[in-house]
Amino acid sequence: MKPILEVNNLTMDFGGLRAIDHLNISINKGEIAALIGPNGAGKTTFFNCITGIYTPTGGDVRISRDGKPERINGLKPNVVTRKGLARTFQNIRLFNSMTVLENVMIGCHPVTKTGVLGAIFRTRATRAEEKLIVERSYAILEKIGLDKYVNELAVNLPYGAQRRLEIARAMATDPFLLLLDEPAAGMNPQETLELDELILKIRDEDKISVLLIEHDMKLVMSLSDNIHVVDYGKKIAEGGPEEIRNNPVVIKAYLGEEIDA
């Protein structure tokens, strides 16, 4: 089977600093993959490179949604999202002055098309689309378990709910691959458990593949089919949870040389 995301020799330099160094990663359809590594290893930079926020210095990012491979590096973030890669942010970036429902409705932007004139004249197509947006958004909120907050302002939600709202919003863009940047950060064990179920549900019911950056190893190990470990921008290991758990290179990267010695 062809991978749905294939990253070859991805390199990103900031001035003299090489944040990502010839990284190769590929994700298969229906997979939950994790990207782990110590702080500052270049994980979020990797997300930024493939979602178009940064233009990579070198290498290729290819996606294939329905079997047609397509090179996407250098495209603008909004174009990348339209092609089916959606993401969440490590430092929650919700639309704070909007309600929970509206946040998800914004996510429907790429799959709808009402323009200025349509909005002014409120044509039949516009009304139908608006109805669709609201229903679709509400359905997503129900699935994520946020339906009780529909009309709350996003900024007033508890922390864990804000993280989930980020996921809901990303799902509304109709992605085939969801990129989650530390979705469990700041969650308590109960919330993390619910997140675990949610991610599985997203993969199994919505058929969306997931790539997550996460520091909560319990979550990573229980969820992931495949784990990629990076350090100093380079990939140091790849494999299933069991393999990674016992990989000496990974242990060394995480714990440092002194302890290992």
Binding site: L94, F95, E102
Partner: protein, 397 residues
């Protein structure tokens, strides 16, 4: 004792401001006759004023800080609640409608003219509200589009004899095109730079109008711009003014209608999202440049139509009407009323434009009040008098 402490602080503020304002407020030099006028009473006024105002200032700051700790609420304010209730809203709108209809017959021509000016500002404020309030783009060159509209009508009428009704959409369209052309290169700039660049554009347009005599007749401007005709009827000046008033009322209603529809549409939501967080917005598949450009051009279109009406109202235009401070006044109406809120912007515009007109002695303090309003609103109530409230949806399941 805290009371003593407060008095001490206020006393110090009072002394400080007496010192600060001493040369400018107290001494007035007549450089021709070489005499000095000492206005000691001013110093007393500043001293007493600063004493009490500084107390008020500190009180309000403390109050705001306490308020800041509370959760941000989205409970609608009084105005929204009244408007939200059908049994209040409908009669209120009917009364307002009747009042508007009879206004020019109840009051003098002078009053009607003032009302026309105020309504032009309402239109401009609502237009700028799209740009600043909804999309969060601080446009300090808004008046340039107003000028484009006014000059389009004046020049097209002068050279080609185009009438008001053709010039109105055309002026709006031209201003909108200007918005697109100017907006395209500048809209990728960060917020504060955007503000300065638009200011620059605004001033460039004004200076060009001032210097390019062959095109715009320079500082002397263009006179004898006709008021809108009514089916070729021969109207007296008064009737023409009343007619213009009704046209303007219709246009304001049209504007409210359009903005109301836009702000809860897919486009309007994209604007607000863009204002909240640009990066997240792009990650949701929204084209930043296109979305901003739409807001900018739409705002410009309204300014252009406002300009056409302005030209028809005053029948004379020159570049002096289109300085940066005009943009600032319009901005002030938006900020005072409440960014993003239609009711807010309308009340802001009416308040700011009508009050100085009716308080006769107040006229010279107009601009200084605008300045004060901008600072105070930003410090104490950045959301404006009528804060915008998001639409809520109900689900019956």
């Amino acid at each position: 004792m805290t009371v003593n402490n407060e008095i001490k602080k206020s006393f110090l503020a009072s002394v400080w401001f007496m010192f600060l304002t001493f040369p400018i407020m107290v001494i007035k030099v007549n450089t021709v006759s070489n005499t000095v006028e000492w206005r000691w009473m001013n110093m007393v006024g500043v001293g007493v004023g600063a004493f009490f105002l500084s107390m008020l200032w500190r009180y309000l700051l403390v109050k705001k800080e306490m308020g800041g700790k509370k959760e941000k609420t989205d409970k609608p304010g009084l105005v929204q609640r009244v408007l939200g209730e059908r049994k209040f809203a409908v009669p209120a709108l009917v009364v307002l409608g009747i009042f508007t209809l009879v206004f020019p017959h109840l009051f003098s021509m002078y009053q009607t003219n003032i009302m026309i000016s105020a309504l032009i500002y309402v239109m401009l404020g609502l237009g700028l509200n799209i740009v600043v309030g909804l999309a969060g783009l601080l446009d300090l060159g808004y008046v340039a589009f107003f000028a484009v509209g006014a000059y389009s009508y004046a020049l097209l009428n002068l050279h080609y004899g185009l009438t008001f009704w053709i010039a109105l959409p055309l002026g709006g369209l031209l201003a909108g095109c200007f918005g697109l052309i100017l907006g395209y290169p500048v809209l990728r700039l960060r917020g504060d730079y955007l503000a300065i660049v638009t200011l620059g554009f605004g001033e460039i347009i004004r200076l060009v109008l001032e210097n390019w005599n062959e095109f715009s007749y320079g500082p002397s401007g263009i006179a004898n711009i006709p008021k809108p005709p009514l089916f070729g009827l021969d109207l007296s000046l008064n009737q023409k003014t009343i007619y213009l008033f009704y046209i303007l009322v219709a246009l304001v209603i049209f504007t409210i209608f359009v903005i109301n529809r836009l702000q809860d549409s897919r486009i309007g939501r994209a604007w607000i999202a863009l204002k909240d967080d640009e990066i997240a917005c792009q990650a949701m598949g929204i084209d930043k440049a296109k979305t901003k450009l739409r807001a900018f051009a739409l705002g410009a279109t309204w300014a252009g139509m406002g300009g056409v009406i302005f030209a028809a109202k005053t029948t004379f235009i020159n570049p002096a009407s289109f300085t940066i401070w005009e943009s600032v006044i319009i901005l002030c109406t938006v900020v005072l009323g409440g960014m993003g809120s239609i009711v807010g912007v309308i009340s802001g515009a009416l308040l700011l434009i009508l009050l100085p007109e009716y308080l006769r002695d107040f006229g010279e303090f107009r601009m200084i009040t605008f300045g004060t309003v901008l600072v105070l609103m930003m410090v104490f109530r950045p959301g404006g008098i009528v804060e915008n409230v998001r639409k809520t949806y109900t689900f019956k399941r």
